[in-house]
Symmetry: none
Subunit: 410 residues, 2 copies
């Protein structure tokens, strides 16, 4: 089905936000076998928005819009779609109830302009919003479909995942089955090279690679008459892929590394503590994002200063002086000091140079030492990451820590 994505909001045309909504929707629609023909972005202007809707429907059967559903004066998407589709706006009782509930729950008065969020086109199905106040809607009329979603990415993706994807699946004309593998430690072009014999001349299943912040995903997709056939074809190809790059793959189901590691720690009931220097709390912050992790996560220490490394973890002054804070020896003493203090099954430390300053010829920005005490021994892993920027370097160090844990507990 030919689809257009129409993102609404002056902030897009001002360049104040980068249009991640269009990218997310494109990925999801392509995965489901829909053809995305156009992205359009327009400001909060009713005439231009209406013209784009008519234009998109000349060439497409479906439009997905984001933005302009909120309570403020310049939120006009719903009004314009209603007019363009020859419908009328009516109070939707379900939307009104949800809105009132929401305001009651947070104990805030509902202002008059909030009420307009309960209006929907009369032929529309409501798409409830459990992350915000503005509901979305699904409108089919005269053989065309328009799906209207809120602009804030968190609300939009949540509504898409819960409400839109299941409806789109019912519209598929052939069955696409796909699986997304996640890997760590192998670059995209290296991966493409080693998989070339499988990728080349392959029409179904197709294999596509995507690089993403130090990780690489692999999408294996098959389009067949039945879902059983498609799934079997994907299974066969997955096996061939794993024969080649199995060592790098940590998920067959498009999971984040943090989720895979968090689940393993909980399932195997491995208690864990961490001592961080260059990542400054990001590792603990990522791990504690996992619901229920308090079952195994004991504590984290962010020893940013040398004094903190000595006082909290018993790193010796002579080690810091002789080898420096960023060294194999300091990483070892941090992990072992943490282990002595907490007794956690797995104690992990990290020290490195996040940049932009602080690097030297001998110890360049991106140098990281990770210490792990686990099952009676201490390993130290030295990694020289390529230096992208402080933010990337810190996040990539966290991914390295997670991957080192993964390799040991999988």
């Amino acid at each position: 089905m030919r689809t257009a994505i129409l993102t609404v909001g002056t902030e897009i045309l001002f360049g104040q936000i980068v249009n991640t909504n269009a990218a997310f929707l494109s990925q999801e629609l392509n995965n489901l076998g829909f053809d995305v023909m156009y992205h359009y972005s327009v400001g909060d202007n009713p005439e231009r928005l209406e013209e784009l809707i008519h234009l998109a429907f000349r060439d497409c059967d479906m439009i997905i819009t984001t933005g302009g559903l909120g309570p403020t004066q310049d939120d006009l998407t719903k009004e314009v779609i209603t007019k363009a589709m020859g419908d009328e706006l009516v109070v939707n009782e379900e939307a009104l109830r949800a809105l009132k509930d929401r305001y009651e729950k947070v104990n805030r008065p509902m202002t008059e302009n909030n009420l307009k969020q309960a209006n929907l086109p009369s032929s529309a199905e409501i798409l409830p919003n459990d992350q915000g106040t503005a509901p979305g809607f699904w409108l089919e009329k005269n053989g065309k479909i328009i799906v209207s979603l809120p602009g804030p990415p968190r609300e939009m993706t949540n509504m898409f995942n819960k409400q839109v994807r299941p409806r789109l699946k019912r519209l598929q004309d052939s069955v696409i089955y796909y699986r997304i593998l996640r890997s760590f430690g192998l670059g995209e072009s290296k991966m493409e090279t080693v998989l070339l014999p499988l990728i080349d001349g392959q029409t179904d299943p197709t294999i596509a690679t995507y690089a993403k912040e130090g990780e690489c995903s692999l999408r294996i997709a098959s389009k067949r008459a039945t879902s059983d056939e498609a799934e079997a074809a994907v299974d066969r190809m997955t096996k061939e892929v794993l024969d080649i790059i199995g060592d790098y793959v940590y998920s067959l189901d498009n999971e984040e590394l943090i989720d895979v590691v968090g689940k393993l720690l909980k399932d195997k009931n491995i208690s864990v503590s961490c001592a961080e220097s260059c990542t400054g709390g990001l590792f603990a912050g990522a791990l504690t994002g996992i619901d229920g992790i308090s079952q195994v996560f004991e504590r984290g220490i962010v020893t940013y200063s040398n004094r903190a490394k000595m006082e909290e973890l018993g790193v010796s002054a002579s080690t810091l002086e002789q080898f420096g804070a960023v060294s194999r020896e300091t990483a070892t003493e941090m992990a072992e000091g943490l282990r002595a203090k907490t007794g956690s099954d797995l104690c992990i430390s990290v020290t490195g140079i996040a940049g932009p300053g602080g690097g030297s010829e001998e110890k360049p920005v991106g140098l990281v030492f990770i210490g792990i005490c686990y099952e009676g021994k201490t390993d130290v892993i030295k990694t020289q990451m390529r230096n992208v920027n402080r933010n990337w370097n810190r996040n990539y160090a966290v991914l390295n820590m997670l991957h080192e844990i993964y390799k040991r507990i999988k």
Copy 2:
């Protein structure tokens, strides 16, 4: 001048890349006083691309394209623009020379398909590319302007900065000046309500509000004949806005709260340590994202378990038993224990219920206590956040912590 941005490339419609080019160009054009009316994205398809060019010129005087200028078969932008503008493609001698030079310099043979990069529309001015092989061009014909830039962001931004911005400046008919204010603690619709007297009936300066993850931004913009007039108009309106919501505004220059707080801590040389429970390291992780923060950040303790709260911070067992880990009393003892341990000028603690589990009628998900030891006294702030989800609740708790610090040290 009314402008459309047209980004070309199948990878955009597949969602493989996020369209940062459109955001960059939008910001730059708006800053120069050009009105960006539309973003269009289309794949490497000549018919649809040509149709969009005609469509954009119905409403706009200028189109800026990115992408599709390279040597491969699916790079068609130049060919399509030439046809749409009624021009013809000719070998551009300057482009040919630059191309040959480039290949000689990197000592690589130039293949036949690379030659096509030297073809340009006969009426076009070449825009040299010193970051890659494909030149861009500037084409004026029949009162319309089309500017064609390469797709790779580094090449595109470099060409824009060196070649396009100076040409655009010559075309300016008015000047836009704008300022973005950032606020915390006031919702978007509440802000609109209190600012309604200023927003209503206001044509210049314009005021627009944007909600963003618990914060709210306010853009005040003026379009005048000279930049001095525009700036003065924005200054006057800023003053009126601050008279109403000044207590909530933490930046007049579109800075993040974390950057404002980090800068204040560094400038005033206030040493800081933190003790986190529900945020699990996110506060320390955010603060240590600031380059140079090691000058003032001493340490962070993530006391996730009760045992850690007692051992690391000296929280008493009886406090934990009588009042619970999420309580005013525990937040106080955490902050004071941290202060006793580190001696940092500012010690901040946080304990709360991040959810989704762990809430009760008495202590619902979203309840957070923040303790601050600063200048000889300890404050505890109780906040009941609306419960969005674990991730949001944790990040919003961090924003609350930053804002409490901001209020005390600004």
